[in-house]
Symmetry: C2
Subunit: 355 residues, 2 copies
């Protein structure tokens, strides 16, 4: 698949710039205190320690698709979406009490351990506070990257407005997502809404629209582009939830049991509750949200999700949204371009990926 190669190539490019930028920031804010030096270094580590760089790549290829020419400038600029991502993940890990991210301690966990090693009287709260602040700092960095980029000021302003609006959407999505397990009832529409707000907005829409804005596109193609982005984002999230339950632990970068322990309500879970026999439903009721979940119990959960046909249903749904995204893209008449092929392919690659 062409998109896989292009994504891998782009990952190197954007990470090269990200590491330069973060090193610059580390030295700019060095020596305020021992602890701030550590935090700065961990913002760098956290941001560079992995990730597909899908968002940055989407921004780049969208820009190129519409005739954008400043290769070096767009690579630098595209790093802003990865910094927003860092910021959101740092806070998200606190919400979910997730101690592992991308195979290492999440930021709040790093500083809970730090507080313990320093013999401070509080550990968890200390970690959470530093996690919140580190996320806040990464968000400011994202805006700074845009302001110091080499694009025209009118485009920068439009981009910042887009970033602020789309990030706001994500934050609303996080509220919806966080409260869902506590709601008495929820529907497929509720889950779809979360997929759109929490994921599609900043995984596809924000980068794709950023690229288009910077390339100067203002015409009717924007509508199709947005359709593409939203549907691609929904497909991505449905697949992400499947990986959360059936993915390879090592590639996931977190324990395979995390989503079940968190009690995450996904399409997989909803469909199992809707289609399961009373005893199948009982398995979910018993184990969802249990922090002491054993591997055996986890296997039971996976079994009922498979046996009820919910796994197949989710897979079919993600394919359906891939199709919708690709149909929207077909309305944009640039099919001879490599960038167009990237966008067309990537939505499919993202639902067959195992990471």
């Amino acid at each position: 698949m062409v998109s896989k190669r292009l994504l891998t190539d782009y990952k190197k490019e954007v990470e090269k710039y990200l590491s330069e930028y973060l090193a610059e920031k580390e030295s700019e804010y060095a020596n305020i205190s021992e602890l701030t030096d550590l935090v700065n270094h961990d913002i760098t580590n956290f941001t560079l320690r992995g990730g597909k760089r899908l968002r940055a790549a989407l921004l780049y290829y969208s820009y190129k698709l519409f005739g954008g020419r400043s290769t070096k400038d767009i690579i630098r600029l595209s790093s802003y979406v990865e910094l927003i991502q860092s910021s959101l993940l740092m806070h998200d890990d606190i919400f979910d009490n997730s101690d592992i991210r991308r195979g290492h301690d999440s930021i709040h966990k790093v500083y809970a351990k730090y507080a313990k090693s320093q013999k401070y009287p509080i550990h968890k709260h200390f970690g959470n506070v530093i996690g919140i602040l580190a996320g806040d700092i990464a968000c400011q960095m994202a805006y700074e990257v845009i302001t110091t980029s080499n694009f025209d000021d009118d485009k920068k302003v439009k981009l910042i407005q887009l970033a602020a609006n789309k990030t706001t959407d994500v934050l609303y999505g996080q509220i919806l997502d966080f409260v869902l397990p506590y709601q008495k009832k929820y529907s497929e529409d509720d889950i779809l809404k979360i997929d759109i707000y929490k994921t599609a907005t900043y995984t596809y829409e924000m980068p794709i629209m950023s690229g288009a804005i910077l390339a100067g596109i203002t015409n009717g193609e924007l509508k199709y582009l947005r359709d593409y982005a939203i549907n691609a984002g929904i497909a991505f999230q449905i697949r992400d939830d499947v990986l959360g339950l059936f993915g390879d632990e090592e590639k996931l970068g977190k324990p395979a049991t995390s989503d079940v322990k968190e009690g995450k309500r996904t399409l997989l879970i909803l469909k199992t509750m809707q289609n399961g026999t009373p005893s199948q439903r009982q398995v979910l009721k018993r184990y969802l949200g249990r922090k002491d979940l054993t591997l055996e119990q986890f296997e039971e959960v996976r079994k009922v999700v498979k046996d009820t046909g919910s796994l197949d249903y989710s897979k079919a749904k993600s394919e359906e949204y891939v199709k919708k995204a690709q149909d929207a893209l077909l309305k944009i008449d640039r099919q001879n371009q490599e960038e167009w092929v990237f966008l067309y392919d990537i939505v499919e690659y993202m639902i067959v990926r195992n990471i």
Copy 2:
């Protein structure tokens, strides 16, 4: 004092716009869910429920001082500093476990109570998560306000860069402030550093420099303006700490015992530890950070801070920084203007204020 009247007048102006803007946002993001509607409404309430609007006023008078003419536009724009303030306070209340802000429940407390009323199994964590997200949303709003203002794009970009950089400083200041009570040793310089990073940067420097940027000032006067802002900010924070211990509870908007219960390390505390007799120091060691502090014990703390001369020392220090701020302002030759008088007076008013 002319500054008191001008500040009161300006408060009305900026709050009028803030309430319009927040109502607009509430309707723009209405009906995503019941909970998001509540959160939106509480962001509005929290932002409008009080505050001196010093920061917005400083932005306005700095702009006017340097010849800025768009009165309506600058009032709207100045609300961005109040939104940053909301964002920072929401997170800060979580750091400090402060349940009261401006005489009402802090955001995280509102949602801990909400979770309880809904019979959700978690309360405190639920409140903290919504508090973090509400603060994150307020921060995005601040950036959006700048992008949608009526100034030229080059000025907006400069302003956003300033806002991102200065907010970053505040976040570092919060790290310094948060870890201070756990450090084995700290000095007057450590406290001064916190006063500068955590307070001076966004209370005076960010608004004052914003006004100057928007008015188009780029010359040497910026240096004096910055000197003014930093010194004024230090004076402000020292006074704020005095009010935190000796201020009127009703006007403070939080229990008078809060700072002592939190174990906050201020200049007052440092000086008492440095100058106190062993038994006076013992009072602080015993009561600082005690959540079950009685009013009698609180009075003991106040007594040793007074008796050691630390209260007088702090007051003298804040006057010293007021003088430095005013001296810097004297180097800017616009002393016949009302705006100059506002800036000159306000630093003094801020250290005699009782709120």
